[in-house]
Amino acid sequence: MSLPEPAADAARLLGRRARIRPAEWLFWALAFAALFLLPERHLILNSIAVQALFALSYDLVLGFAGIVSLGHAAFFGVGAYAAGLMTKFVTGDPLLGLAAAGLAGGVVGFASSFLLLRGSDLTRLMVSLGVALILAEIANKAAWLTGGTDGFSGMAVGPVLGRYAFDIFGHVAFAYSLCVLFVLFVLARIVVHSPFGLSVTALHHNPLRARAVGVPVNRRLVAMYTFAAIYAGIAGGLLAQTTQFVSLDVLDFNRSADVLLMLVIGGTGYLYGGMIGAALFVLAQDQLASLTPQYWHFWIGLALVVLTLVGRERFAKRLGAFARLLPGAR
């Protein structure tokens, strides 16, 4: 069986875009090399991996589905509490905990996605923010379940796969988070290059035309949003398991704002942006905060201002030859 000529062309083009580039091999090789080469930095690397997964999830929402949100912490936080509760009351197995986290994130994402189908960017921004703030308030009020402002403690997380117990150096934590990140990344990569993912991207770039060729707009958006929310929930679950503590700030506005910053710094719509942004952001914050614990915000702020004025696009280009080698980079 053979496709008609133009369709075959399109298939080839899309196939080429989906191909794995050399830079991608390099990216993951570096990430896994950090496991062996930087043992004393595993704690911060672990939090980078968690943030990277969170930012990846946000990229699916913003970069692919084109929904601006200021409440992505909602799913992160719900996932964190779900993993915490699972560990404390059902089983200490980390992977089952992650499943619970993803499920919780997905349910909340699915339910709240219907609120975001109408309105301008600003409306979506504020509705998503409102959802996150209301969830934070619920978590605060439900202190009998979540510990409220005191935080949720007493989680005894079991060893990963029944073999590798979490250690104080963060070795297992980082390896675990990195593997989860990698697996979910691969899955996300397959999804965004699938017909489903391509139709969502098309929607984002030209909703009118997408509708005209018969893409069920709302259903696709709901599906993508829910998919991303599952990821965010798992990221929250990872954080809860690797810190063995959940506090109210998992649902905080700042967390939603930070993830937006990370993704925008790294660039949207090519899956690696969030991960690169997360690494840059967390490292910069850590370095600056240890140099000047009181005033580091100033330097982060300055960096953001300069970055935008110089031009994020130009910066992204400098950043790379590398970025251009990644799939779908614009």
């Binding site: 005191d150 506090s247 915000h297």
Partner: protein, 391 residues
């Protein structure tokens, strides 16, 4: 270059950081100080940081033959950051002691780590009761909320107050304070006619204060965290509760020395209970306040600063007792039962609970040399942190 030598070189480089810290461990004692230096609770961090620096300036940076190095970290008041910083300080910097902890969840997040790594965790600020029960390595130099609240309930019952409405911030310490006040006050025959909680982050107290006005109790009991007192007291003044015959009483967190100078004359005569006032009339405290204000112009030390100052004192004393040994269990054992004359008055670390036993003062806001101060007029010595219900 031969491959062998190159490998050797690499090996040497790789082991350098380890060797380096080992060599340092011989003669340096590192203290990891984790505080919220930015964000909502920044003023807490600043007070403690200033007090720690003052203590080091006054007492030197060496004790028991060891050099003391304080590593300050900003956790922005976010628990998972606190936990990671604490872990890095233990693993990479090899700190002997962790200290600071501005808020309850931050102290709780680190508790399992303190137990696992056997590193003492000195809580200099966070005041929810349960904290010290979470790890045998936690020692507290601030207070618990019931500890400072119960004397106020006693005072109220003794001074003709029959009905009280409580208004507290909606979080751990606030709930603790309301519960302790209620437990103690009702046992003494008083009646609580209303229990109100205000969201932690909302500055609009008007509806709550209006409710208090409508309930018409003899007195209103207040607790808000350090830093919010001034805004609250302004709204209390605006609502003219005192004119409506409602007495306003609070824990010392509300008339916090950090903010008291700016609170205005409406707080004159307000009765509070707490463990520290900058106006405490002892020679130790006078010297402390003078030195603090000299080093930090425009800043008056508050109870947070004293928690930090005494925390450092406790660490120094423990190091003296162990002869500079930094074994965590030995350090905590050395801290248990330690007693000294703090700038706040005589204090002792309870060996059983690792809480601080201290005098709680009943104070009244008065003007001294044109400035507002909490002037102590009564005291209850050796207050052991009571159980959460205040009895």
């Amino acid at each position: 270059m031969h491959r062998r030598t190159m490998l050797k070189g690499l090996g040497a480089v790789a082991s350098l950081p380890l060797l380096g810290s080992a060599a340092h461990a011989e003669d340096t004692v590192k203290i990891g100080l984790i505080l919220p230096m930015t964000g909502q609770s920044a003023s807490t961090g600043k007070q403690i940081d200033a007090a720690v620096k003052l203590f080091m300036a006054q007492n030197g940076d060496s004790v028991a033959g060891k050099k003391v190095q304080v590593i300050l970290k900003d956790d922005t008041g976010v628990a998972d950051v606190t936990k990671r910083l604490a872990q890095e300080l233990i693993v990479n910097d090899k700190v002997a002691v962790l200290a600071g902890f501005g808020l309850t969840p931050l102290a709780l997040a680190v508790a399992p780590l303190a137990t696992q790594a056997k590193v003492p965790e000195i809580v200099m600020a966070a005041a929810t009761t349960i904290i010290t029960q979470k790890s045998p390595y936690i020692v507290r130099t601030s207070c618990t909320l019931p500890q400072t609240t119960v004397p106020l309930a006693d005072w109220a019952a003794k001074n003709g107050i029959k009905t009280v409405v409580t208004l507290v911030s909606d979080y751990g310490p606030g709930i603790d304070a309301a519960k302790a006040f209620k437990g103690r006050f009702t046992k003494a025959g008083g009646k609580i006619t209303g229990e109100l909680t205000a969201p932690l982050r909302n500055p609009e107290f008007a509806p709550f204060l209006q409710k208090v006005r409508d309930l018409k109790p003899d007195a209103l009991f207040l607790f808000v965290p350090s830093g919010q007192g001034a805004a609250l007291m302004k709204q209390v003044a605006e609502r003219e509760l005192t004119k409506a015959g409602i007495k306003v009483i609070a824990t010392g967190d509300v008339t916090d020395d950090d903010q008291l100078p700016d609170m205005g004359d409406s707080v004159l005569g307000m009765v509070t209970t707490h463990f520290y006032s900058a106006a405490h009339p002892s020679p130790e405290n006078k010297a402390f306040v003078a030195a603090f204000e000299k080093a930090n112009p425009k800043m008056r030390p508050n109870f947070m600063a004293v928690g930090g100052y005494d925390g450092m004192h406790l660490i120094y004393e423990a190091l003296k007792k162990t002869g500079g040994k930094t074994d965590g269990t030995a350090l905590v054992d050395a801290m248990k039962g330690a007693s000294w004359t703090s700038v706040r008055g005589p204090v002792k670390i309870d060996p059983a609970t690792r809480e601080i036993i201290q005098t709680v003062y009943v104070r009244k806001v008065e003007k001294v040399d044109g400035q507002l101060y909490n002037i102590e007029f009564d005291k209850i010595p050796d207050v052991v942190p009571p159980s959460p219900d205040g009895n």
